[in-house]
Every structure is written in structure tokens, then in C-alpha cells.
Symmetry: C2
Subunit: 386 residues, 2 copies
């Protein structure tokens, strides 16, 4: 049995509206790139873990595990899909981490995928809503923009967070995405444009929101012993943790705090024997720009209520002290639900390897990904290190 | 880290058309029974693994992990759903097995659930079809009865298997279900009635097929060290294996053999250091009665082509040498997709504990469950022992 788990290969499909490709094509693409990157033989892969939320509704295809083995020509190896709403990708990484630590598998392909643009916008919205508490939220018409609007409005009222601060998160993440060849929106976005974009659910604007995206991401993970066979530059999972908060927002003591994120990030730091200041680069789940503000607080980069200031001070920018979402984040890289948590790990692995090109954070040695589901009912945290 | 994983509690909801209950209610019910049976405190449960195929389509609710933690009042523990089509339940058991073996979790609640009767029959059929290869099978109208009809017809042609033999599997499983208080159909079924039932897809008759079912099943699993805190009568997972075959039926060398079942059952026996004759009681995935016949061959209870004879000889009956589906199987206990693989383990744990009452196989010490997805693209095998 291994104690540490390594990441020895990463791959991505382009993120965007991929009208000309099917779910199976983009998933295969991300997987093949990860396999090529790891320089591993297909026959050495001994299992597949897939993060996906709703292929059954988005594309009319489930049983993605068997499909991926089949399409990849990977023989008879085991495969399964994991679902934890928007944290499905992170959950697939965590399941692979445990599978390898258990000794049951040695070299695994981890995939995350979602094809969201083949249904109408209203069907997409409906499909995403089933990640909320449908009996108590979704059924009454509370979509995710509406639920995050409650969080944002409360945060503004309690702490004076502003429309401008929420806008600046979008500007920052779009800036970063210019340097990410896989991002859906590889262009800068002026603050004025964000602040003049339409209201989705007051105070959440269209350009505070992550888009509907097609995309897939892949990793090759293996035990520490096997890692040296494939690369001289492995990245290690120093900690993998997960925690849950109430599914419905109204059941929380404080809707501006995601207990799941507080608990899982604190535990991850303990396990990795690090403090938050030791982390050099972050991917924090910015489904809406207010989520990034809340998450910077809940992982401990800012005190509660001061996430907006952090943005004003430029601390989370690419050249700031604690860069957040160098990939462009969900906002600008795009948010193909099941792929997101895997894509976060791809970005951080590239940063730690020094392969992030124009968006490279110099000398990054430790990295943290926070992937949440719903309004933070699920939080999955990974700390990576060299 | 543990080497062996124990099952210390089991629970079930009634299986059937549960019009008056919701998915969350039946899932909670199965989980609570398992927790009571294990005599474990809720606070000792440190994670939840859920098997579910299509709650998003059947009931408009995903993110079942967070939902289960929330409904169960289990604090902030991690939870996730696993999907592998009709093998989703077995996959949830296997993920929990690996999670515990990895040392990441100690005492887990495993749930399997599906609420299938809240949509129309045609919508249910459509939802089940997405477990096939939709681009190459489902899209052309090949439903699962149609795909299994290919298998059955070929098996009849190659090996002389008869309508009567397929009917006898239904008769046997209905006989057993009379003694299972959770079964959907607790009544015997005369062979004549089966043989006169309507054709679904020639030669598959209505009464060769498992029904549309609502239901949930639960287990408490833990490391060997913790098991003695909860029970004097633990059951152990001696082996957990999984294998894949092509998703589409037409890609196989021989449609009468499920390579995934052959491989996973052989490996499981090797790991448990047993031969097939050492197994005292079986749960084999009888989504159609022909599946049970094929599975008895592929696990090695009969030579290829002789599964029909095994039924004629009564060897798989409750009082036979190798009882198969003492619970009533998918045919008569019912087949709530994500629950089935967990319910198989519930049945076998009861048999090994000596708690199976009127359907008890005397002195059972070793048991095997085979849970398949699609037409056997996924196969998950568990061997349990005392």
C-alpha cells in the first residue's frame, strides 16, 4: 500500500461550446492527452474514476465508466462514475486517491466531463437545479443564481461587500484566462462591462456567473513507488479531504459561511502539516464571483467579511501574494460541471511542475484546490505539493 | 489501515411501488435500519457511499450524498454517489471497501436507492436505456429486453436452452421471495403462468423480466478492528473485484459470455483463496431470467451452455446444492437499480449470520454476489465470509 499518491500526467479538452463534438469524444480526448503526458502505456492503467454530474439528462448516456474503458481500448479494467453535484470532479479525484491508497489499484486514469450545450438553456438550468434541495429550494423556483444572490446580498449587508468587488473577481479571472489555451473565454473583460451586465438575480449579474460549458479533463494518478517510472517531475497529493453542510441554504446558521469549506480546508492543512500562508497558488470554486470571495474567507486567506478587500488589494491576482484561479477559474475557463474539479487539479499540477507558461506562478511548491457542490453542501479540498 | 473490511449492520426499505414515499424517505429508512442493526451511534459513521443510477431523471434530485448526510442528521461527514448503471449498488459497496482499506474512513454507511415509479413506463424505459451504448444501441430503439433477447435467442440456438428453463428461473425466484418480507412479489408463480405471459421481445416474456421497483438498502461497513465494538457476528468481505466488457453487445466475441463476469468472479475466488464449490449461497443479477442462466455459467457453477440444465436439476433452488437468489433476486425481490447491488449484500450477510429465517441456507459460510450493469459491460463481484 502506498502512503502518497502521485499525479504523473494531465490532459484537457478545449473548454467551450463544442457543438461539433460528443461527450465521448471530448472525454476520450482529455484522457488520451493525460496518458500521452504521463508517457504511460494504456495497458498499465488499471482502473478509471470519472466525475460527472448529469450525463443522463444532458446527453442521454450514463454508464460512462464502461464507455470510457471501451472507447479508450483499455481492456477489461474497472471503472465507475462519481457524482457530488458541481464537486463531482473533485470526488472522482478523491475516490481515485483512496483506491490507490487502498492498494486495490496502482495506476489510474481520472476523468471529469460534462457536455452541457446539447440541451436548451432552460433544460440546462433545470438539470443544474437538481443539485440543490429540490423539495425545499428548486421546487419553489430557486435556481442557483437565486440562491447565490441570497449569499451575495447578505454578504453586502453584513460586510459592505460591493458590486465592484464582485466585478473585480470576474475581471481578474478573465485576465488569467487569456494565458490558458484551454479556457472558454480567452479575453480580458473591462470592469465597466461587468458592472453594466444584466442582472440575473439581483445582485448577481450575468458576468458574475460561470457559463454553460462543454469540456473534459484528465489525470493519471499512481502510487508513489510507480511514479518514478513515468516522470522525473511528479506532483503529490499531500492531502485529500471532504466535508458536508446542509443541502438547503436556509438550514445554515450563517449563509455567508460554508462550514463544509471551513472544515475540509482546515483538515487538509492539518494533514499536510501546512498553514494557509504556505500555499503558493489556489483554485477556488468561483461558480459565481461571490463564491470566490466567500471561499477566500473560508479557507483562511481573509477574515470573514474581508474577502472583498482582498480583491481590492490585488492579493489574489496572478502577480499577487496568493494567486487564485490562475486558470481563469470557473468564470472564464468555463464550468463543465463534472470536469471542473479535475481541471482544477490539472491547473495546479501544471503550476507545480513549472509548466503553466504565461500564467506561471514562479517557484510554486504547494497548491490548494477547493471544489464545491451546490451552495457548498459538498466541499472537496486537495493540497498538492512537489 | 485495515486489511479486511467487515459488515456489521444491514437494513432495507420494503421493495415495491411505493407511491406514498419519496426517494429521501426510503433511503433514510434503509440507512436507519442498518444503523440500528449495527447498534452504532450516528456520530461514529464517518462517511457515506451511495449507489444510484438516475435520481436526476427519475426524481429530479441529485447530490444525494449531501442529501443523505443532511436527512440523517449525520453532521458534516463526506458523502458521494457512485454510478455504474445497474451495478451502481455494487460499485458503492466496492468504493466503501476501498475507502476503508485506504485508512481514510473507518465506519461507513453504504446506501443504494432508486425511485422508479414516479415517472411513466416509457420515461422509465428511456432512463434505463441510457445504461446501454446509446450511440450504437439505444438510439436505434434497442431497449434492454431487446438486447437480452439477442442473448437468449443465441443461447437457445447454440445450447438448446428452452423457454421452460428460462421460466423455471422465475418460478424458483418467486418461490424464494415468499419468505423475504422486503420482496416486491411475495408469492409463488406457477410455471404455466410464466410460460403464458406476453412476449416483451421474443423470446423474453414479461415474467422473465425484473420489474420497475422503488426501494433502498443499507449496510454499515467498518474496518476489522472496529467490528468487534458493534457485533459478535460480523461478516467479512473476503474479496471485492470489478471488470468491464464492451458497452455494446455487438462488440463481443460471444454474446452468450460476459467476459466481465468471468474475469471478476475468477479474480474474486483467487483473492479469497476459494473455488466456486466452496461458495454456499449466491446472489446473481437476474435482470432477466436468461441473465441468471448466463451468470451461473460465467462464475463456473455450470459449463458454458449448461446453465439451463442446472435449473432443471434443481441445483440452484433454496434446498439445492448451490442456492441462487434466495432473496427472490431482481425478478421477485424487485430491481430498484441503484439499490440492487446493496440488497444482494444485505441478503448474503443475513444468510451468513444465520438471520435469513425461512429462506436460511443452513450452515452457510461463504457467499458470492454478482452485480452487473447493462448487458454485463460492468461486473462487480463480492465474496463474503464469516
Amino acid at each position: 500500500m502506498s502512503d502518497r499518491v502521485a499525479i504523473v500526467g494531465v490532459g484537457m479538452s478545449k473548454f467551450g461550446e463544442l457543438w461539433e463534438k460528443s461527450l465521448r469524444e471530448i472525454t476520450l480526448e482529455a484522457g488520451m492527452y493525460a496518458i500521452f503526458d504521463a508517457d504511460v502505456q494504456g495497458k498499465e492503467i488499471d482502473a478509471i474514476s470519472i466525475g460527472n454530474m448529469s450525463a443522463g439528462r444532458f446527453t442521454g448516456q450514463e454508464h460512462l465508466g464502461a464507455l470510457a474503458v471501451d472507447m479508450g481500448g483499455l481492456g477489461n479494467i474497472p471503472a465507475y462514475s462519481v457524482e457530488a453535484a458541481c464537486a463531482s470532479g473533485g470526488a472522482a479525484v478523491r475516490q481515485a486517491y483512496m483506491s490507490i491508497k487502498s492498494g486495490e489499484h496502482d495506476v489510474m486514469l481520472v476523468l471529469g466531463c460534462e457536455k452541457m450545450s446539447d440541451v436548451s438553456q432552460s433544460e440546462a438550468m433545470d438539470t443544474i437545479s437538481v443539485a440543490s434541495d429540490m423539495d425545499w429550494e428548486g421546487m419553489f423556483g430557486a435556481t442557483f443564481p437565486a440562491l447565490y444572490a441570497f449569499i451575495a446580498r447578505r454578504h453586502m449587508m453584513e460586510y459592505g461587500t460591493t458590486d465592484e468587488q464582485m466585478g473585480k473577481v470576474a475581471v481578474k479571472n478573465h485576465y488569467n484566462a487569456q494565458f490558458n489555451p484551454w479556457a472558454q473565454f480567452q479575453r480580458a473583460l473591462p470592469l465597466k462591462v461587468v458592472m453594466n451586465s444584466g442582472m440575473l438575480a439581483d445582485p448577481i449579474r450575468v458576468l458574475h456567473s460561470s457559463p454553460i460549458t462543454d469540456g473534459a479533463a484528465g489525470l493519471v494518478m499512481c502510487s508513489e513507488e510507480r511514479a518514478k517510472e513515468f516522470t522525473d517531475n511528479p506532483v503529490f497529493v499531500d492531502a485529500s479531504t471532504q466535508a458536508t453542510a446542509s443541502l438547503a441554504l436556509h438550514d445554515r446558521k450563517d449563509i455567508c459561511t460554508m462550514d463544509s469549506v471551513v472544515l475540509s480546508s482546515r483538515r487538509a492543512l492539518e494533514r499536510a502539516n501546512l498553514s494557509i500562508e504556505d500555499i503558493d497558488v489556489f483554485e477556488l470554486h468561483d461558480s459565481f464571483t461571490i463564491s470566490e470571495i466567500v471561499l477566500t474567507e473560508d479557507v483562511g486567506l481573509a477574515k470573514k467579511g474581508e474577502g472583498g478587500k482582498l480583491v481590492d488589494e490585488g492579493i489574489t491576482e496572478l502577480k499577487g501574494e496568493f494567486p487564485v484561479n490562475t486558470s481563469g477559474g470557473l468564470k472564464a475557463r468555463g464550468h463543465p460541471i463534472g470536469a471542473t474539479g479535475v481541471a482544477q487539479i490539472v491547473e495546479l499540477a501544471l503550476q507545480l511542475r513549472g509548466d503553466a507558461e504565461k500564467r506561471q506562478v514562479e517557484g510554486a511548491e504547494k497548491a490548494m484546490a477547493v471544489n464545491i457542490g451546490g451552495t457548498g453542501a459538498t466541499s472537496i479540498v486537495h493540497i498538492l505539493g512537489r
